[in-house]
């Protein structure tokens, strides 16, 4: 027994050493606090060891790993809130009205067809006290001249950006693309020239930008392996200029835990806003345990369109009639009910998000639209020459070749897996031999970009200021070896691409706009390069015990309540600003 006694102290020592190492290690971020500020304010802040519950909002849903970058330039992979809380765009975008609203900009207008004059607000400042002026805007736009900065494409249609005075920038375009320009105005953050101009040109994407200096309402406070903490910037310019006051002092964003844990935290009040997809949340909404935008189905606003992508390089998916037959054969209502329990809604036949409802061309939809109709699917197939010639219950191609297709979605995406089972079942019932398969998500990525698949589901057509992004995704030309942004089915151009480019060059208020939209809707329905299925939700569930006045349908606040990257300026910021302490 003596061995035991000898081992105990060893174990105790190991435990203590590990725990101390752990404490020391996690204490690190404090040392990284900027200390060059005035009158010990920061030391005082560093002494705060606990975020008071009534001054803190806990969020989750946008971050999948430890925060690793505060650099807004790559526009992906940055910590939650970098583009929105910390860095700000010139305009914000309201999906409810499809209008841009001035944010850093005071106004912006086209003075002639090729010239856009942007006016900044007076008195804008960076968090380090430097003025935010027209030079910063010019710096941001001109950064696109570096080829590996993601808005480099802009310089093929923008000729120059000139600061005419401290708050005015004049943009001259060689090929004005009004829709893309609007998109740029609210998706790109204005960058601090005095900080980033010192970076090496090869560093724009790879600088982690620790100790970031933004212009926004929140400053970097600290981060850990499982969280990102922001602290309110009490000197924010927007308090007066925008009249927005954020009631919370701290935002703690929690790295996405498993569904069970997220649900547990939400129910215990440890999370105020969860932007996670939580299957089955509808029952908790009905029990009044959590709140969502709508009190009943579909519960959530729509964020993007899930589409079925047929590979048009493979027979029989190269036949538009065959693709249309598939559209008629799939009962999306069954997916909405079985895979989602009513958390999503069926897509409009055009696939355009409900936010674009005002742009739906009803004439086109009633003529070319589709809905679940097994008989119609059968007759389209029969008319196009597809028949079951060998009697196996499945149709063959007009040439008599057997059809055997595989629908792939990533393993582990349970809702999509269930949806693809429904789709395969429905298509089989219509005589099209489709089976669902669930490879690893990396393999699905490879298959999608290299074109090595029959059918897959994708949802990268997200909400934006313009349906141009959707049609750019649907019809993009030319087809390359690797398709990474859209047209994964590699459909050949049937006249749509010129229209898409034209759409980008057409202002939303011009009369041609509706006309082009009509033509595009018609082409998307007759060519059916992708089959719109359902709208994935802007997953958002709230616990109202600490904060109330969350966005609801018909409520006081109706902003799009999301902390996802790119959504802060589409409603996330307004969601937080509208909150009130509960009680």
């Amino acid at each position: 027994m003596s061995l035991h006694r000898r081992r105990w102290p060893l174990v105790a020592a190991a435990t203590t050493a590990a725990l101390i190492a752990l404490a020391a290690c996690s204490a690190d971020p404090i040392d990284q606090e900027p200390t060059d500020d005035v009158e010990g304010l920061d030391e005082a802040a560093a002494l705060v060891s606990e975020y008071p519950r009534e001054e803190t909002i806990f969020t989750s849903g946008s971050q999948w790993g430890p925060p690793s970058s505060w650099n807004p330039i790559p526009q992906s992979g940055e910590a939650t809130g970098v583009r929105g809380l910390l860095y700000e765009p010139l305009f914000s975008f309201d999906p409810a009205t499809l209008e841009l609203e001035p944010w850093l900009a005071e106004s912006g207008e086209w003075t002639d067809a090729d010239t856009y004059v942007l006016k900044l607000r007076e008195g804008l400042t960076w968090q380090d006290g430097e003025a935010l002026d027209a030079q910063d805007v010019v710096f941001t736009v001109e950064l696109g001249k570096v080829p590996d900065v993601r808005w480099s494409n802009m310089w093929t249609w923008l000729a120059s950006a000139t600061a005419t005075d401290a708050t005015t920038v004049t943009f001259e375009f060689s090929d004005p693309r009004y829709q893309e320009w609007d998109n740029f105005l609210y998706t790109n953050s204005v960058l601090p020239q005095h900080v980033m101009s010192t970076w090496a040109a090869t560093d724009y994407n790879s600088n982690a930008n620790e100790d970031p200096v933004g212009s926004g309402a929140f400053t970097y406070s600290t981060h850990g392996q499982d969280r990102m903490v922001w602290e309110r910037n009490d000197d924010w310019w927007g308090k007066d200029a925008l009249g927005l006051e954020f009631p919370m002092r701290y935002i703690v964003d929690i790295v996405n835990p498993s569904n069970e844990v997220a649900l547990g935290l939400l129910l215990q009040g440890g999370l105020d806003l969860s932007n996670n997809f939580l299957p089955g949340i509808q029952t908790l909404v009905e029990n009044d345990q959590v709140q969502t935008f709508y009190p009943e189905a579909p519960f959530m606003l729509s964020a993007n369109t899930a589409v079925l992508v047929p590979n048009t390089l493979r027979a029989p998916m190269d036949d538009a009639e065959f693709r249309r037959a598939m559209a008629f054969a799939i009962d999306v209502d069954k997916i909405v009910a079985n895979a989602y329990g009513g958390l999503v809604q069926k897509a409009n036949p055009t696939g355009l998000l409900p936010a674009y409802e005002s742009l739906y061309d009803d004439g086109v939809i009633s003529e070319h639209g589709f809905e679940y109709d097994a008989d119609e699917a059968a007759s389209i197939l029969a008319d196009a020459g597809y028949a079951d010639t060998d009697g196996d219950g499945f149709v063959e191609t007009p040439a008599g070749e057997p059809i055997e297709l595989e629908l792939i979605v990533p393993a582990g995406w349970t809702d999509w897996m269930e949806a693809s089972r429904v789709i395969a079942e429905d298509l089989q019932a219509a005589g099209i031999n489709v089976t669902a398969d669930f490879p690893d998500s990396g393999a699905v990525d490879d298959a999608r970009s290299s074109g090595d698949f029959d059918l897959l589901i994708n949802n990268w057509a997200g909400l934006s200021n313009t349906p141009w992004t959707y049609y750019n995704y649907l019809f993009h030309q030319p087809v390359r070896d690797l398709q990474l942004v859209g047209n994964f089915g590699r459909a050949a151009d049937a006249g749509a691409w010129t229209l898409v480019e034209q759409l980008s060059r057409t202002a939303s208020d011009s009369p041609e706009y509706a006309q082009i939209m009509g033509q595009l809707q018609e082409l998307s329905l007759t060519q059916m390069p992708m089959v719109p299925l359902w709208y994935n939700g802007l997953w958002a569930q709230y616990n109202t015990s600490t904060w109330e006045n969350w966005p609801t349908d018909g409520g006081d606040s109706q902003a799009y309540p999301s902390t996802w990257g790119g959504f802060w300026q589409m409603g996330g910021l307004r969601t937080l600003a509208a909150l009130q302490p509960a009680g």
């Binding site: 590990a18 204490a27 790993g65 992979g77 994407n205 392996q225 440890g270 998500s441 990474l484």
Partner: protein
């Protein structure tokens, strides 16, 4: 002793070389191009912008070089202590990512494995000599061992976390706390640590106890025990010899367990939303993050080797037969 150590050192060096080479090779055999995946995730709208971005990232990660050169560079940077840049958590250096996770993993796994080993052996040894203990400890141990870990862990979270509310359900420390060198923070760390620890402790406890009980019973029936007993040696002395002999296989088992420490416990980390290496490894696989995976697996390899080496040394201390063998005497 010296030749023994030299031989061992050579074996370890060879194992290290092969394992590190496999670490480099295996991630590259996975399907999926990490840069492509990174760029798809970024949602770039213009295919024209993609070319330069691919080039840029491949250059940063050194993936544009010939394979043999990538392999040599890997050894070069490894030996200079550079594990590369994570693709998934770009642009964090892999060593930073791992350094943030390792303390949590070690603080969780080491105590869980060591304490369960100590307690399990002790319980098993006691059970072997007391009938009533045997009748309670043994079934309980079988139950614990047979329990699926996932289920036990969820039960603990649900029972002690959600229903009773005694323990937090997620995080390494309270989400409302800022890490400080204070007692309250330390207590909070312990508070969050306890449930994941308990789950790991409980689930391995039973196995050790059963093993030790059987070993002791076997030893007590062996010839030397009977001989000692016939000589009239006190029962206590016999049991002590039995325990020492029974401990040897258990130490080997411990060595194997300790090797897995550094890999973390993926399920524990997921169920308790506890930070650590296991979750990083899973994500690295899913994101084809060669460098993070290489780095994390390197820790696993080093962990296994170090644990085995330590146990080799411990054997010299606890098993006199090894010692005589070293000194050239015949056993």
């Amino acid at each position: 002793m010296r030749t023994y150590l030299a031989r061992k050192a050579t074996i370890y060096a060879l194992t290290f070389f092969v394992a590190v080479t496999l670490n480099w090779l295996i991630p590259r055999l996975m399907p999926g191009d990490p840069v492509q995946r990174m760029i798809s995730r970024a949602g770039v709208q213009h295919p024209e912008s993609i070319g330069p971005l691919v080039e840029y990232y491949e250059n940063i990660f050194g993936l544009d070089l010939p394979v043999w050169q990538q392999y040599l560079n890997y050894w070069g940077s490894l030996l200079s202590g550079d594990l590369g840049v994570s693709i998934w958590l770009f642009p964090s250096p892999v060593e930073d990512v791992i350094a943030r996770a390792v303390p949590f993993t070690l603080a969780l796994m080491l105590p869980a494995i060591l304490l369960s080993w100590v307690a399990g052996n002790w319980m098993g040894a006691l059970a072997a000599r007391r009938k009533w203990l045997d009748n309670t400890v043994l079934p309980a141990s079988y139950l614990l061992t047979a329990t699926p870990y996932m289920w036990l862990a969820i039960l603990l979270v649900w029972g002690l976390g959600v229903v009773a509310g005694w323990f937090p359900v997620a995080g390494g420390y309270d989400f409302g706390l800022r890490p400080t060198m204070t007692w309250s923070f330390f207590l909070d760390l312990l508070h969050h640590w306890f449930l994941p620890f308990l789950s790991l402790f409980l689930v391995s406890l039973g196995g050790w106890a059963i093993g030790m009980r059987n070993l002791i019973i076997y030893e007590l029936e062996s010839d030397y025990a009977n001989y000692l007993s016939a000589l009239g040696a006190p029962q206590r002395l016999i049991r002590r010899y039995a325990f020492r002999n029974g401990l040897l296989p258990q130490i080997t088992g411990l060595a194997l367990q300790l090797g897995t420490v550094i890999g973390g416990a993926l399920v524990t980390e997921v169920v308790f939303a506890y930070p650590g290496l296991g979750y990083l490894i899973l994500q690295a696989v899913q994101n084809a993050d060669y460098f993070l995976l290489q780095g994390a697996l390197l820790f696993v390899v080093v962990g296994v080797l170090v644990a085995n080496f330590v146990i080799d040394l411990v054997y010299v201390v606890v098993d006199p037969r090894t010692r005589t063998g070293l000194q050239g005497a015949t056993a």
